[in-house]
């Protein structure tokens, strides 16, 4: 990976650090850079601590770096709570306000150089400009983002009176001047191309997932607000309305999942979005969608669990629940986007699969992807869309749950004459009549399993990269860090194969076998405490060698440097060991 610049702007809630971070990412994009901005904040709605974490570079950025080049703190209030989320090293610059007192010791323990500047005093002097605009000007100059791009970003987002804009443009310039006046050594700035080529987008993973849902054909959403999924819903509410769909705020998650099942039964592709606690409440409804064969999509923007857990921080710990957490034998689809951009394509694919297979599809996004914003290349639109198999009007001897070879049976849309049936969560005959008979139960269980097992999922089930006798398997949002770590390990002479799973259930065991052909050992990397992916893979397939796991819970992200170190150590330990012959 080419050089990148990592910076954090921190301050107490309300100081405007998120606004500054968002504008800086926008400005960097205008100057032709790629970038990522991660939001981190405490549990308070107003007045808590908050930080915008950015990484900018000439290539797409999928993960945060090991260390930050710059931490700019508007105040030190509660910043010690963030110290481990903003690791600083000997080359890092820590900038604080001259009147804010001493910084938390933890921030300096890595050897960062501290500089204090009169941020708030200068802001007051700038005639109404805000301190976060001083910070933006300063951080932008340090990172190499040109002043005209910063000004353009500020102008285009400005919604208040013109005089205040002038004051804040002045504040931007003051901040840049302060950066220019810093004594060496300072981290080397980037040199951006100057302007953005056509076809770049700037969006969050939550927005990308919402957009993918609409691309996939979703026209009805019912949902209950929950962190960190709410922004997905708030983006969809007006967007869905503009394309002729509806978003309905339900009274709880039990209602949301049953509402979308009702809407989808009515023939309208439907989705809900939630996080772990909501997903748990929806379990019975998802089972109904399995049994009654109603297509639905549930996007789970994962956060720290169990229970209320850590609502605003990321973790990949709903995997076990997603793949196994329903009562009865209940085949379902589970997918996980591997990047912010992929939130779009994977959610779109989930809608298509749910519709084509008349089954629930769970999409495992997470807080890291959902609430982060990134500059991406505009995703291609795959026009080949799988569709629901709909029963013809007056189909003779219509059997809703006919035991077809594929397992998929035509689904009648209410309003169609001659195909009346009752969708049922009770076990049923092929005609949909409730049945507790052994033969009907076996037939319908096998039908529902077969339709998912036999489907041809094509090449998108995983991203498979590199070669070698050692492989790293991961899924979801950790893919970005793992991919970068694999590249760094390769640069140090350790070749690893990477398998990033996108379709988790049904597990493509045969395809995984082929992807791992020639591999002696695997390491499974994931962001949770218990090694859920490792356990899942071991329960469903035979992995080569003695599979190892590298797993750590949230909220700290897995960083590429520590992963690369771990990969090199793991590989060198495996390289010298005699293998037991098969």
């Amino acid at each position: 990976m080419e050089r990148t610049f990592s910076l954090a702007i921190a301050g107490s809630g309300g100081a405007g650090v998120m606004t500054a971070g968002t504008l800086l990412l926008d400005a960097a994009a205008r100057a032709g850079l790629y970038g990522l901005m991660v939001r981190t904040s405490g549990p308070q709605i107003r007045g808590g601590e908050a930080a915008a974490l950015l990484r900018l570079g000439a290539q797409p950025v999928a993960t945060l770096d090991d260390r930050f080049d710059l931490l700019l703190a508007i105040d030190w209030l509660n910043l010690n709570r963030f110290a481990d989320e903003v690791p600083l090293g000997p080359g890092s610059l820590l900038v604080g306000d001259s009147d804010a007192g001493e910084p938390p010791a933890a921030l300096l323990s890595g050897g960062a150089r501290l500089v204090t500047l009169p941020l708030k005093k200068i802001a007051k002097r700038s005639g109404g400009g805000w301190v976060n605009m001083i910070a933006l000007g300063l951080a932008g100059r340090c990172a190499g983002v040109p002043a005209d791009a910063l000004q353009a970003a500020l102008r285009s987002s400005w919604k208040r009176e013109a005089e205040a804009l002038q004051a804040n443009l002045a504040a931007l310039a003051e901040g840049a001047a302060m950066a220019a006046g810093l004594d060496a050594p300072v981290p080397a700035p980037l040199v951006p191309p100057g302007s953005a080529p056509e076809g770049r987008w700037l969006l969050s993973g939550n927005e990308a997932a919402g957009c993918g849902a609409i691309r996939g054909g979703v026209r009805f959403v019912a949902a209950y607000p929950i962190t960190p999924a709410t922004e997905l819903l708030e983006w969809m509410a007006p967007a869905l309305s503009r394309v002729g769909g509806t978003l309905l705020q339900a009274e709880d998650e039990l209602a949301s999942v049953n509402m979308i099942i009702g809407a989808s039964y009515g023939g309208v592709p439907s989705l809900t979005a939630t996080a772990g606690p909501g997903l748990a409440l929806m379990a019975e409804g998802i089972g109904l969608a399995v049994a009654a064969e109603v297509p639905i999509v549930v996007v789970d923007v994962m956060r720290g669990g169990p229970s209320t857990g850590i609502p605003a921080k990321s973790e990949q710990s709903d995997l076990s629940f997603a793949v196994d957490g329903l009562h009865g034998d209940a085949p379902r689809l589970v997918l996980a986007p591997t990047s912010i951009a992929d939130c779009l394509a994977t959610t779109e694919w989930a809608v298509q699969l749910a519709e084509a297979l008349q089954a629930p599809a769970l999409v495992l996004s997470d807080q890291f992807m959902g609430q982060s914003r990134a500059v991406i290349d505009k995703p291609a639109h795959d026009a080949v869309a799988a569709q629901r198999l709909v029963a013809e009007a007056n189909a003779p001897e219509y059997r809703r749950y006919a035991d077809t070879p594929s397992g998929v049976s035509p689904m009648a849309v209410p309003g169609t004459p001659g195909t009346v049936y009752t969708a049922d969560g009770l076990e049923h005959s092929e005609r949909g009549i409730p049945s507790s008979g052994a033969a009907d139960h076996r037939k319908q269980l096998a039908k529902r399993e077969r339709k998912l097992a036999q489907h041809d999922y094509g090449p998108h089930w995983a991203d498979i990269e590199g070669a070698g006798e050692l492989a790293v398997i991961t899924f979801g949002s950790t893919t970005g860090a793992v991919r970068e770590a694999v590249a760094r390990a390769a640069a140090r002479g350790t070749s690893l194969r990477l398998v990033a799973l996108r379709l988790l259930a049904p597990l493509q065991a045969n395809a995984l076998d082929r992807a791992l052909a020639g591999v002696r050992q695997v390491l499974v990397v994931e962001q949770n405490h218990g090694g859920q992916l490792l356990r899942y893979l071991k329960s469903r397939t035979d992995l080569p060698g003695r599979p190892s796991g590298l797993h750590r819970p949230g909220p700290l992200p897995l960083r590429p440097g520590e992963l690369a170190d771990a990969f090199v150590d793991w590989a060198s330990a495996r390289a010298h060991k005699e293998e037991v012959p098969a």
Partner: protein, 277 residues
């Protein structure tokens, strides 16, 4: 208005399927089913343009006994499924049916919010003051001193008042009917279906298996002594003070019906363009 001289396209029998109900002999739900089919014949909507949605319980078996599209979901969530269906498919006539346990206990929250949301659907509760399918436990409308195995000596908890709750929560049409009067019940259900917004019809429907004393209900029911009203204060006073056997339309209001604009005003490409730099 229909041409009264033209032959009707659909008779009540056209809405009745040939599946044999699982209900006990003497169950009130048989006549509720016949009232539903009679009401649909009054409406004259083709069966395939009607959807009957239910949860779990004896009465929730009703959808498959009609020739309409049916949805038999999970316990307590019928109103949620019916709401999603009606909002996504406003062209359909949606009837949600169930019992007192399904609607007032496990589904109680959805009942409140369906009333206040006022989506244009009809909710029929066959209230027998007992859980029948699980063989005789107290429901929210059971008298507090009714002795049963799960609550020996009774629950000691006062009965829930569904009509007052519905009125207070914003239901646009509130009525009580009695299964022993199938024609009267059919007329009320037809009126409920025609009335815009959320229409709630509580049908007293005896369970003579677990509550044989409910055979007496036919002696106790009586017509609403005053004309139906669109004044919620009058309706509330009357419902709060009646004896629970007052049959008729007790409130018919004109609250705005839940509606969402369905016309597309932008293409997907226009929306996506907002992500571009």
């Amino acid at each position: 208005m229909n041409d009264m001289t033209a032959p009707l396209a659909f008779a009540a029998a056209d809405y009745k399927s040939d599946y044999k109900p699982i209900w006990c002999p003497g169950c009130g739900d048989y006549t509720v089913l016949s009232s539903v089919t009679k009401a649909l014949a009054m409406i004259q909507r083709p069966p395939h343009e009607v959807a009957v949605v239910s949860g779990i319980g004896c009465s929730s078996r009703l959808p498959a006994y009609t020739t309409c599209y049916g949805f038999h979901g999970v316990h307590g969530r019928a109103l949620a499924a019916g709401t999603g269906l009606k909002v996504a498919r406003p062209d359909l006539t949606v009837i949600v049916a169930g019992g007192d346990g399904d609607g007032y206990s496990i589904g109680g929250n959805h009942f409140l919010h369906a009333c206040r949301r006022n989506v244009d659907l009809t909710y029929i509760v066959m209230d027998n003051h007992v859980y029948g399918m699980t063989k005789g436990q107290a429901s929210p409308t059971t008298e507090p001193d009714w002795d049963n195995k799960l609550s020996p000596g009774g629950t000691g908890v006062r009965a829930f008042h569904p009509l007052v709750i519905a009125l207070a929560s914003g239901a646009n049409f509130v009525a009580r009917a009695f299964s022993g009067d199938p024609n009267g019940t059919a007329a009320i259900i037809a009126q409920a279906i025609r009335h815009p917004g959320f229409s709630f019809v509580e049908v007293l429907s005896p369970c003579i298996t677990f509550r044989p004393e409910q055979r007496q209900w036919k002696e106790l029911v009586h017509a609403a002594p005053v004309a139906e009203t669109d004044d919620p204060a009058r309706a509330a006073r009357r419902i709060m003070t009646d004896d629970g056997f007052n049959v008729g339309v007790l409130y018919a209001g004109s609250r705005p019906v839940y509606a969402r604009a369905k016309e597309a005003s932008a293409s997907l490409a226009e929306i996506e363009a907002e992500f571009a730099l």
